[in-house]
Symmetry: C2
Subunit: 678 residues, 2 copies
């Protein structure tokens, strides 16, 4: 970009917003490359692959000082015309390898370049990312052998790749060496090389080779959860998610929660191997499924990214997770792992690689790292809290200056275990609850049933699925509503005196329960249920508080709730319970399978791999068990929403029961005083 003057055309690329001035006659593709704007190209500027399509936004963009027009690109030349004739170019589209810059331009880089009428499918998450995949498809024309120049066929292929694509000194996957001559001759010395180049500084590798022009390459991104596994198949060239699928983690049969799986390994000599095989088998099934849905073959998959919590991570890789079962919770490996997919029993293309994100700590895995990457607390100035609630809650708090993380042993209460009427989120489970503060009568909504329980048609609709229990989000709501209705005190005690006012309050030994539904099976919330949720949410909140202490702040600006639980709970009720700290409710968002999104980002852009690897080394891990203040925070967090912390944002939206005593009190003394005033 030497000798660029203010009179040279100004070009703005969208959506990246990158801009620069270029001499008249510069190829649009070249300009994009110079600015670091990712525009795919397989054929290396021969106007045959059609991957480098762009369009011009016409008009006067005053903010940018650009008047952009189609005329500011060179007219369609013979090569581009031929491509349009043979393959067809959508209206308004140009090939950036052919079009030259003649004047100021706003160039749109479409994120959905449709090549060969490839089917477009809806993916769960339609976020579009800057792309820079580890796999590049590089079309080259190789010199034919010549007795006077004894360089081997492979060696001349390397020269062509170095000359046309600037990958110098590439390494070659051994399985290709016996194939090279055949492929070169089949393609009549024109071939497409799949080059895997993940890390700057490391050599690029030739991992696959195709005769002629190969205009496709795919990758999979996968989140191995302890309960469910989610897999996405994406085009590495267009970035589009082509297919998605999910399955239950088959390891469930060895143990429902993580620690029981670790125990299984410790008790059974072949336990580790059995669980590794089980998860890989399911993954292979999922690969087949997404390939079938995407209409491709396994050999078309050239890259893959996996995430999972530390125990899933270890079992997936064939590592004994026993060390993760007890202090000091030593990970076998915390850094990112790169391996040939075939080495871990996932045969796709023979040259396919698998990238596994780094783990943050023994309890905070590659899934939390991926969620961090997806939600990006480290990329923003606001102090963001990210919570992924499972048997362990992973908590990440931070901003661009500093990120801290912890895991809190919340136990399985949020998943409905340890709750008398608890159940999984499945048809028949109560998921929404409202309690009339005057009558104490509840109304609720059941999964699989459209009307609320007090609406017309409920009984009929519910008769097929029944009302069988309360799921995780339901238990949050019902206890929060019980608190708001005055049925339980801020200390979580069910007020037995209300039994005089309402038949919903039932004696249950020395304590009282709240009757939510009377049917084939009575669904009640017992005092023990309330205690279980209090313990779980106090553990989570105490972890959050330790992170707030570490950051030296007393509030968060933004909260992301990851995972399925996060998607279904109502942030307001979570806040009423004091499960999450006070925050502007508009800034509390369910972020879905953030771990899966992070995996997909790493699949489509290797820069994200470097970003999370670097970020993980900076994330400070708090071991909650070692922190002296954990106990104090935990006790304060047993109260609803909290004994000491104010919830001003929440109070502005919800009428919270009046605090019975000064916020500063803690412990039994306070409780006794409050009791005496009840």
């Amino acid at each position: 970009m030497a000798d660029i003057s203010e009179r040279d055309p100004l070009v703005l690329f969208m959506p990246s917003g990158k801009r620069g001035r270029f001499p008249v006659g510069t190829q649009v593709l070249e300009a994009a490359r110079q600015l670091g704007v990712y525009v795919e190209s397989v054929c290396g500027g021969r106007a045959t692959c059609g991957r480098c399509q762009v369009s011009v936004q016409e008009g006067n963009f005053a903010k940018h000082g650009i008047t952009s027009s189609d005329d500011h690109l060179s007219p369609v030349g013979p090569k581009e015309e031929r491509y349009d004739r043979v393959r067809g170019l959508p209206a308004g589209r140009r090939l950036s390898c052919s079009a030259q810059i003649l004047g100021d331009l706003v160039i749109d880089v479409p994120q959905d370049t449709v090549i060969n009428a490839q089917v477009v499918r809806k993916a769960a998450d339609e976020r579009v990312f800057d792309r820079n995949p580890a796999i590049r498809m590089c079309y080259v024309e190789v010199e034919e052998p010549d007795m006077e120049k004894p360089l081997g066929d492979l060696d001349r292929l390397k020269v062509a790749i170095a000359t046309d694509w600037h990958f110098d000194e590439i390494e070659v996957d051994f399985h290709l060496i016996p194939e090279v001559q055949k492929i070169l001759r089949k393609g009549e010395w024109k071939v497409t090389a799949a080059i895997h180049h993940d890390r700057g500084g490391l050599p690029a590798r030739l991992v696959a080779l195709y005769p002629g022009l190969k205009n496709e390459a795919y990758g999979i991104a996968c989140d191995i959860g302890s309960t469910t596994i989610a897999m996405h198949l994406s085009s590495l060239l267009s970035g589009r998610t082509v297919a998605s699928s999910g399955a239950s983690n088959p390891q469930i049969r060895f143990g429902e929660d993580l620690m029981s799986r670790v125990s299984y390994v410790m008790m059974n000599p072949d336990g580790r191997e059995a669980m590794t095989l089980a998860v890989r088998e399911t993954l292979n099934g999922l690969i087949d499924k997404v390939c079938a849905e995407g209409g491709i073959s396994r050999a078309d998959i050239l890259d893959s990214v996996f995430v999972g919590n530390p125990i899933m991570h270890h079992l997936f890789l064939g590592i004994d997770p026993t060390e993760l079962g007890g202090a000091p919770f030593a990970l076998a490996v915390s850094g990112a792992v790169e391996v040939k997919s075939s080495e871990i029993g996932l045969p796709m293309n023979e040259g396919t690689r698998t990238y596994i994100l780094p783990c943050i700590a023994g309890h905070v895995g590659a899934d939390a790292a991926a969620a961090t990457l997806s939600e990006g607390p480290h990329r923003q100035d606001e102090m963001m809290l990210m919570v992924d609630i499972g048997t362990n809650a992973e908590i990440v708090l931070g901003n661009s200056t500093r990120v801290v993380a912890a895991s809190s042993p919340t136990g399985p209460a949020f998943e409905g275990a340890e709750i008398s009427s608890g159940q999984r989120a499945a048809p028949g489970a109560i998921e929404r609850v409202r309690i009339d503060p005057v009558t104490l009568e509840p109304r609720f909504r059941v999964i699989g049933v459209e009307p609320w329980s007090d609406e017309q048609g409920f009984a009929e609709a519910a008769s097929s699925v029944g009302v069988t229990g309360i799921c995780g989000s339901g238990i949050i709501e019902v206890i929060a509503e019980m608190y708001l209705a005055g049925i339980i005190s801020e200390d979580g005690v069910v007020d037995g005196s209300l039994a005089e006012r309402s038949t919903r309050i039932l004696p249950n030994g020395r304590t009282f329960s709240y009757l939510v539904h009377e049917g084939q099976q009575s669904i009640t919330v017992t005092q023990n249920d309330v205690r279980a949720i209090q313990l779980a949410k106090a553990a989570l909140y105490a972890g959050v508080k330790l992170l707030l202490d570490k950051q030296g702040v007393d509030h968060v600006d933004r909260i992301g709730l990851a995972g399925a639980f996060g998607t279904f709970i109502d942030p307001k009720y979570a806040m009423v319970l004091g499960l999450i700290p006070d925050c502007d409710l508009d800034k509390v968002k369910a972020v879905g399978n953030a771990a899966g999104t992070g995996a997909r980002m790493c699949l489509l852009n290797r820069d994200y791999r470097r970003e999370i690897e670097e970020t993980v080394t900076r994330i400070e891990k708090i071991e909650t068990a070692l922190e002296s203040k954990f106990q104090e925070h935990f006790v304060a967090a047993m109260a609803l929403p909290n004994k000491v912390d104010a919830f001003p944002h929440l109070a502005a939206v919800v009428t919270l029961p009046e605090k019975k005593a000064g916020g500063g009190d803690t412990g039994d003394g306070g409780r006794r005083r409050r009791r005496s005033r009840d």
Copy 2:
């Protein structure tokens, strides 16, 4: 080495001859490293492995200006004393990691450090090389896991390796990842890492990991010849050859010579695979054999180097050699190949790598490259000719300025094929022949029989093996002697007129034969035999001439004869025949299995890999078939020793038959003139 003054001690390391000044107090090991003198150390200076032993040469070395004395090393300290007590240090030996420089020194770096009373075995080739193997054994002490520092076990191992051994950002063989925790705990956080680091610029790799101190590592070097395979097992730490073994190439059953093997592949669908499997099976047998002889397990082999001609190279790697069967003789790969040994069916340690030297051209393989490396024409100022004679003769000619290479289609005559009484070099074969120029009576020596044929006891000794034929070296001698005795003319015509003088000259159709031996089977040299040798030697010599032309020189300073044939032929007779060009006979040397030696050099010193890779790119390949002057040289070389070239060095030692015409004459005209004067 900052602030070094002339008053600092001067230290000379032998046998490398590297020298430098170092401040008083510098560790000898550190001084060696700074000078690039290879001194092995596994324990990283902890005085426990004993690998870094050196001794002081006492005395006044006037030439170097050094008075060297034991006193110029620091006294034995407690760590060194402990090593001596526990393991025993040979008299005069010091540990260079403990001894410090106090004054001027001549330090001997022994090439035979005997550790743990390891058995010393004689190897075929006792040349000692500077060592710098691709495998380094690195003992480290790893930090134990700590809840506050969540780095994984493998990641802390990497930190220790980077800190103590300066291998930063190592890659890790995947098979180790599930093993790391177990090994670290077994070694109580003290382990020895086997680091494979071949190429500067590329990351080092952790390929094996052992609990505690592992003080051994081995490698194999192997030359896959089309007839025989030779393998050496060497200690990568001491450089010593621990065991050697050989076997016939089992591919012989698919075809005796190279082209018949290529044909076999072309004619049989599974031919390539069958030959690949056969050679790998034999290699595995040889690995077992050298391991048994060396008293080690296959898992102790951490590195390996293979060479072979292009067709052996391709078949070994599983590459179809069909393209090598015809012009343009395209190699699938000419550059060096690196592969995990397990990927090519040679399981040793799971992390073992195999390095295969580059090929020079379609007819000049990795074996010729290895021979070049071994004999080093490119390292010397003298113009050196290296010849490896087989079915094809590979010819390399050059010096430090320029190296050229060719292969000449000599055919199998030198191996005894196409010769009426020809046979392999085996008991019963005539290998030496002298002919009395007056009586024309021969005397000869037979393989397996001590006395010459005219000596006492010959008949008795020969009765057991018989006199069955003439081997390659024998045919060279008998034809040369026939020429010296005047039985054949310089044009190779058996002089029938001599039948009047001697019953040894027998009519044979329209030509004459020479009777070497009359027994159960008569052994004669026919006119056709002479022609076959003339054709073969003319092809070889014409190739040499093309290389001389290319170099613009008219003589060579030094000749190396490689391979078994080169070991057994008498250079004088080869020169009389004009098989090799004129040269001082003292400078013609059989260089043995130079290819195997080159492989061993690459095993023990990765610098040699870079040297040959770089050299091969500079070697100019002459395709004899494409050179217009080949025919002319060939015709001139049909004469004995040559129609046009003078052999002054030879003439000074051997009385050559007088030339019948001026040396400048060529072609039939000259021949006719000489005939007319007979």
